[in-house]
């Protein structure tokens, strides 16, 4: 931390960061969040040091990748985006055919030396490809561009939703949607799309959603209807957060978390642990940190030298927001339970790496020549 605060070394460290093409504000926030995350993971895992070390390894790897990605110039990113996209979609199809089944869904691809979820690639590839496609068109987007973009987005989204992985599908879908939104799809069109979607809602309810997904939505509306079954997660999570009160029960002292009442407490429900142990103040502080990151991302987008950068940085920042909103919304009982982790804090490798690479993209855009100049 002294790297930034020390007044004599300030310009020096600034130069190092610039040389690494790293944005100091984002980097600082990401580091603070990661430290928070480690502390919380220690508590949520029941003081499991092994688990923390594994997460630390991933974090280091993710930070290295961040810097690596930050050093790829935007114009190269723009060029490779279509290949990345196509590769991702092919892998998705491969997963459908050969993939491994984990927790009842087919998401993993085992390449022998590494196991990963191709859907993670699409979290970056989809906004990249849509941004690169739209960057060269006249904005606001016309009908043709709209149709092409929607196709580009919906193919991987449907593939992912079929796995089924609703959380990732939402994240990928919204990333693509944000590019379109920023590229200026007319309000009228968005409105009519919205109306169309809500008209189709009953059909989607029956056809597109699986039983357990319908259950989750019904559970959200009335969790007490099945307190030991599908409602259990959400009830226990609300109890944990609510019982945290203003200041929380203290680090490692959350009874709901330490006594196993919160399921998935080191992954999707880690915010419940946070809310219980650090209370309302802690939660506000955490959300504030997230807000700074999102706004910094939007700021970089606004100051990017060209459309590709503007659209991509903006869309990635907003997708990051979706992570935060969907996760906090679901653990507080505002949204149905979908598998969206709390970014940079939940235990789990792939999402952490993807997120950091996303920030690498944003930093690459910030460092492009004209932006700096």
């Amino acid at each position: 931390m002294s790297l930034f605060i020390d007044s004599t070394g300030f310009s020096y460290s600034r130069r190092i960061l610039d040389a690494l093409r790293v944005d100091p504000v984002l980097m600082l926030m990401l580091c603070i969040l990661s430290i928070f995350g480690m502390m919380l993971l220690y508590s949520a895992s029941g003081s499991n040091v092994d688990l923390m070390l594994r997460q630390l390894t991933r974090l280091t790897m993710a930070l290295v990748l961040l810097v690596a990605v930050a050093n790829i110039p935007p114009r190269v990113l723009k060029k490779i985006s279509i290949w990345l996209y196509m590769g991702g979609v092919i892998l998705l199809v491969a997963v459908m055919v050969y993939g491994e089944i984990g927790k009842g869904a087919q998401r993993w691809l085992d390449l022998g030396f590494i196991r990963f979820q191709p859907s993670e690639i699409l979290k970056l590839a989809v906004p990249m490809v849509v941004a690169s496609y739209l960057a060269d068109r006249v904005l606001p987007v016309g009908w043709k561009e709209l149709v092409v973009s929607v196709l580009l987005v919906s193919v991987p989204v449907l593939l992912i939703a079929r796995q089924p992985d609703l959380g990732t599908a939402i994240l990928v879908g919204s990333a693509g949607f944000f590019v379109l939104f920023l590229a200026g799809v007319r309000w009228k069109i968005m409105l009519s799309l919205g109306v169309l979607l809500s008209l189709m809602a009953p059909l989607l309810w029956k056809v597109a959603l699986r039983d357990y997904q319908r259950d989750r939505i019904l559970t959200l509306l009335n969790p007490e209807s099945d307190p030991l079954g599908s409602g259990y997660h959400i009830i226990q999570s609300k109890i944990a957060i609510g019982s945290g009160g203003v200041y929380g029960k203290g680090w490692l002292n959350g009874t709901q978390s330490q006594l196993d009442f919160i399921p998935e407490r080191s992954t999707d429900f880690i915010f419940s642990v946070f809310g219980e142990e650090f209370g309302f103040f802690g939660s506000i502080l955490l959300i504030f940190l997230y807000l700074i990151i999102i706004y910094r991302g939007l700021y970089i987008a606004a100051h990017a030298p060209e459309n590709f950068g503007r659209l991509l940085a903006g869309a990635l920042s907003l997708t990051f927001f979706v992570y935060v909103f969907v996760n906090t919304g679901m653990v507080t009982g505002l949204l149905p339970v979908v598998g969206v982790p709390l970014p940079l804090i939940s235990y789990g490798g792939t999402s952490m790496v993807t997120l950091m690479m996303g920030f690498g993209l944003i930093m690459s855009i910030r460092s492009s020549k004209r932006y700096l100049g």
Binding site: V138, L139, P140, F178, F181, L182, A183, G184, Q236, K238, I239, A240, I241, G242, S243, G244, G245, V246, T255, Q256, L259, D260, F261, G275, G279, F280, S283, I284, I287, Y290, L291, I294, Y295, L298, A301, A302, E306, N307, R310, L311, G314, L318, F321, V324, F325, T328, G329, T332, G333, L334
Partner: protein, 615 residues
């Protein structure tokens, strides 16, 4: 013709994107605001609610059952205590292959299908980390065999729990009663909170009557559990207070002498200290082992006890009701003297039967051919029925039952135990109430020799003769002498209560009755003369015989030809030493024939043991 051409204009486009970015930033702020508002509601507005829910998730209240109080006899001999009973228990989550474990266990220890059924039922109800009993009440050999081989099994444990134990087995069972597992009926009677964790409750006798004292006070443990219900630590504990100890009036040695004196016979004996109502021995024969009932009696054992013709489960001393027969005569004689309707020296000629004026029916004397000339003393000594027919006829039922009521007949003694019955003291009023018809003079005569509707319990009879020995002062009989609080070490004596006091109109009336009763034992022609040989103290007594079935007018009663279970009951009441009584005894030997041969020797043995310390 012009075609509209759109040119890329970076300035306009960047302005468009910026506008959209600003809109997005606004939407982000609004949505984040919703989350913050939600957190505010959960963590600040509804904090109390969720805090309570969180605590009730993790905090459980466990009951700690108290240790049941012990029971001692009057000399400190342990009559009931608590012993660790060993049980074989299995912790499901520690067993890899349950079927294999169960079949392997069979090599070391026997268990029935009934055991297995209960085990499987509990397995479904209890959590995997809780131990579930497979076999209860392991004997020492089984414990040893298992303990040696326990290392071959994972998740199999031998655990001990305190269980009620009656170290002397069937000894004094009808005085003590017993405990058994709490059933649905019991639960509706007791306070559920104070019995949480308690598995046994007094079912009969003292164990039931003194349940409150013996049970103690339940303790409470507040524990923290995790989501699976496993206890992690104890937050708070109020230890249970053990039940109070009972010190009985019963003398275990005397009780044993009495039980042995019965031999194979069925019957009852109650020995009482006339001066304070303390029960010295309370016997009902045959006896049974109450330990069978503590952990649920098996069907075979229960059926055997229930169907046995000698009815061992029946507490004859308190619940058995018998015609008092001739043992009622001294009381009626006293009544006649007190009412001044008969002079003690007046005589009646006994020809073997009695006839009411203007009636054909003959009332027989037990002695064929009669006793001849009889005054009161001789009539009591030889138990002449005809004399008492005449006496009853002159006295009348009202005066008869009035005096006997004062000696406790026809009413409960209110002993501190359960199952006591009141017997029946016939009277005009009783007849009207129960049968709704008038009293017949013939019934007065039958009552006068202790037959007819007249019924007494052995306890009642003992208490009445005790009252007679004290000229009419009657105490409430007690089984418990003192109660010891294990917590405060305080010893609380039970109260000596006077149940009634008859005022003699003339002391000499009573003296005459006592003299007559001494004559029953010590006189040459006394019906109990055979027990007087070698008697070192002065005993007053009265024999009795009560009919099990009625004999028709002209039939003969012949003990030899009658089936054992239809033979008369033999009775004997007595106290000693006469004049300064220390013990009163009532004995009934079922189907024992005449009281002089069956019941009186038993009373002698008990009195010898008590007064002379001989056993």
């Amino acid at each position: 013709m012009f075609k509209r051409v759109y040119l890329k204009d970076d300035f306009l486009e960047s302005r468009l994107i910026r506008r959209r970015l600003i809109v997005s930033a606004g939407i982000v702020l609004v949505l984040i605001g919703i989350v913050v508002a939600r957190l505010y509601v959960l963590q600040i507005v509804d904090y109390e609610h969720f805090s309570t829910l969180s605590d009730s998730n993790r905090i459980r209240i466990r009951a700690l059952p108290p240790t049941r109080g012990l029971i001692y006899d009057r000399n400190g001999v342990v009559m009931a205590n608590n012993l660790p009973a060993y049980r074989l228990e299995i912790v499901r989550e520690q067993v890899e292959d349950m079927d294999e474990t169960l079949s392997r266990l069979k090599h070391y220890i026997a268990y029935t299908d009934q055991d297995l059924d209960r085990f499987q039922l509990l397995s479904r109800r209890r959590r995997p980390f809780e131990s579930i009993p497979l076999r209860l009440n392991l004997n020492d050999e089984e414990v040893a065999r298992l303990a040696v081989n326990l290392h071959k099994f994972s998740g199999v444990e031998i655990n001990a729990r305190l269980t009620r134990n009656y170290p002397k087995g069937s000894h004094a069972v009808h005085a003590l009663g017993y405990v058994g597992r709490i059933d649905v009926d019991d639960l509706s009677r007791v306070d559920e909170i104070s019995y949480a964790g308690t598995s046994h409750i007094g079912k009969l006798g003292l164990e039931k009557y003194y349940e409150t004292e013996l049970h103690g006070t339940v303790g409470v443990q507040q524990v923290e559990v995790n989501a699976k219900g496993r206890t992690l630590r104890v937050l708070n504990e109020t230890p249970p207070i053990p039940g109070k100890n009972l010190h009985l009036t019963i003398d275990s040695k005397l009780q044993e002498v009495a039980e042995q004196s019965f031999g194979e016979e069925s019957g009852a004996l109650v020995a009482i200290n006339p001066n304070n109502g303390e029960i010295l021995a309370l016997v009902s024969m045959p006896i049974f082992d109450p330990n069978l009932f503590v952990n649920g009696v098996s069907y075979e054992n229960y059926n055997e006890l229930r169907d046995s013709p000698s009815r061992p489960l029946f507490n004859r001393a308190l619940s058995g009701q018998y015609p008092p027969g001739s043992t009622a005569k001294p009381f009626f004689a006293l009544a006649a003297l007190e009412a001044n309707v008969i002079d003690k020296d007046n005589t009646v000629t006994c020809k073997g039967f009695y006839r009411l004026p203007n009636e054909e029916r003959k009332f027989r004397d037990w002695k064929k051919g009669g006793h001849g000339e009889m005054n009161m003393k001789n009539a009591i000594t030889q138990s002449c029925d005809v004399y008492f027919y005449d006496l009853s006829y002159r006295l009348g039922i009202d005066k008869m039952s009035a005096l006997l009521e004062q000696f406790g007949f026809g009413q409960k003694t209110n002993i501190d135990s359960t199952g006591e019955r009141a017997g029946i003291l016939p009277s005009r009023e009783w007849k009207r109430k129960t049968e709704g018809i008038m009293w017949f003079p013939g019934e007065t005569l039958n009552t006068g020799i202790g037959q007819g509707a007249f019924l007494v319990t052995p306890l009642q009879l003992a208490n009445s003769i005790a009252a007679l020995s004290l000229k009419g002062k009657r105490y409430r009989p007690r089984l418990v002498r003192s109660i010891k609080d294990n917590n405060t070490e305080e010893l609380l004596e039970t109260r000596v209560e006077i149940a009634g006091q008859y005022q003699l109109s003339k002391e000499s009336n009573w003296t005459h009755i006592q003299d007559s009763m001494i004559n029953v034992v010590h006189g040459l022609r006394g019906t109990a003369a055979r027990i007087s040989r070698g008697l070192k103290y002065k005993m007053a007594g009265k024999t009795g015989t009560s009919q099990v079935f009625g004999i028709a007018q002209d039939e003969e009663y012949d003990a030899e030809t009658i089936a054992k279970n239809l033979r008369d009951h033999g009775l004997f009441i007595s106290y000693a030493p006469a004049g300064k009584p220390r013990i009163a005894v009532a004995v009934i030997v079922e189907n024992g024939g005449h009281g002089s041969s069956s019941a009186a020797p038993i009373a002698r043995k008990v009195m010898d043991a008590y007064l002379l310390g001989k056993s």
